[in-house]
């Protein structure tokens, strides 16, 4: 059975400069489509991919990633904004890798486009009043 899932990979600093995703193709016969990647030396790397292949291979590939130290997060998670706490400062705008936050130049209010959000969670801790919440 062929499965296809969207997942977020968090690479710890020590793994950022190593070829890992390559093994998914070579050793596990999986296809992937990179939707977003943010790899900075000396910082945690982040990659959003759609991973496709036989269920058995998919499971082995995920096991391999986990054992290497990559943290895997399903895109089934939702990041929501608590509008009670948001002060519309804008600290999230430059932190978000997919530009899901936008400053309206007239109202100076910050909009959040959940459709662009990849649930990476970077905004959760970057938000000074802690208005961004992760829901499962």
């Amino acid at each position: 059975m062929i499965v296809s899932k969207k997942i977020v990979l968090h690479f710890p600093v020590r793994l950022v400069d190593r070829a890992i995703v390559y093994h998914l193709i070579k050793d596990y016969d999986l296809e992937f489509n990179i939707m977003k990647a943010s790899i900075i030396p000396d910082a945690e790397g982040l990659m959003v991919i759609e991973l496709r292949g036989e269920q058995a291979n998919y499971d082995k590939g995920i096991k391999y990633l986990t054992e290497t130290g990559v943290r895997i997060q399903s895109l089934g998670q939702n990041v929501l904004r608590n509008d009670e706490r948001c002060t519309h400062c804008g600290a999230c705008v430059t932190v978000c890798p997919t530009k899901a936050f936008k400053l309206d130049p007239d109202s100076r209010l910050i909009s959040f486009d959940a459709g662009k959000c990849i649930a990476c969670g970077l905004c959760l801790k970057a938000c000074p009043p802690r208005a961004m919440e992760l829901h499962f």
Partner: protein
Amino acid sequence: MSKTIEEINDRIRRGEAVVVNAEEIIAIAKEKGIKKAAQEVDVVTTGTFGPMCSSAAYFNIGHSNPRIKLGGGRAYLNDVNAYAGLAATDLLIGANALPDDDPRNRIYPGEFNYGGGHVIEELVAGKDIRLSVTAYGTDCYPRKKLETLINIKDINEAVLFNPRNVYQNYNAAINVSGKVIYTYMGILKPNMGNINYSTSGQLSPLLNDPYYKTIGIGTKVFLGGGIGFVAWQGTQHNPSAPRNEKGVPTRGSGTLALIGDLKQMRPEWLRGTSMMGYGCTLTVGVGVPIPILSEEILEYTTVTDADIIAPVIDYSSDYPNMVANIIAEVSYADLKSGKIEIGGKQIPTASLSSYSRALIIADTLKEWIESGRFLLTEPVESLPGIESGLKTKPLKERPVTE
């Protein structure tokens, strides 16, 4: 043309005062000219809503039976360290205070989810706060332990007292190093990946009265959703900072110490705030009315974001090491556009201060004045201006030999 504060107050009492916010006055003065605008407008309201670390609250909790002496003991509010160096039942909590067991930056970068600023917000919101005290016991204050819930409506006094708020201009922060840094100016990406700034610019109180001609000690203000007063010049008040031809400082300069009754403030204007890798603070809402006493004062209030210049400072090396280096000078109009160009590179910008909330503060103050419930005050003393020669000094470290 000149008016007095008493004349303006008479107009406020009669419901005739013309009040506009510091954004509206720009277009009004452009359309009507300074002279006519100064005749017609009585008050310009300002506002700002940003993280202000030097903020604190003090309380008197009332005497327990038997009595306990907090002074010289240890006290915690919701596990956050409070200052117990005052009298028996007085307590102070600072916005940056943390629980003893917070890992801080031992797990880097620390999250700083709960601290003094959050205690102040919850107290103002009317939530019960857990007070834990250990004391040494005396003949007149024999008790050594106290564990209780306190609520703002029950305690004798609750006062917000902020030694330094409302900075007149500030740095814009950048990171020239190759790794992410976590600062009080937010998360700064490597290799000049972003710039963070914090101001309400053309709405900001002291940028609309650059020489402190109307704002002084005793000035009544909007503070945390209630009414407060300017208690003194703020710490690090630095009137001698360089200024542009309109008198607007081009570096951090004047500051205010503010005081007010916490019991009439509101949690949406005193927001507990977490800066990842840096610590906890309090986002404070402040609005100051500027009485239009003359054309000169009106002209100061027409300052625009394009007129206000901020220095871009590197927070990876220059700032921590006290290196007086400025990477660029940029206007708030540029910063607010969402990106600026430095050295051929487009750099995204973000604010830590909320302009939209600052506007709500200025408009709330406007409404208070128009409805007659807020009268203006004459300062009882001026803030030190340029003539004082006052200048912020760095710490002079001296060897300790004994």
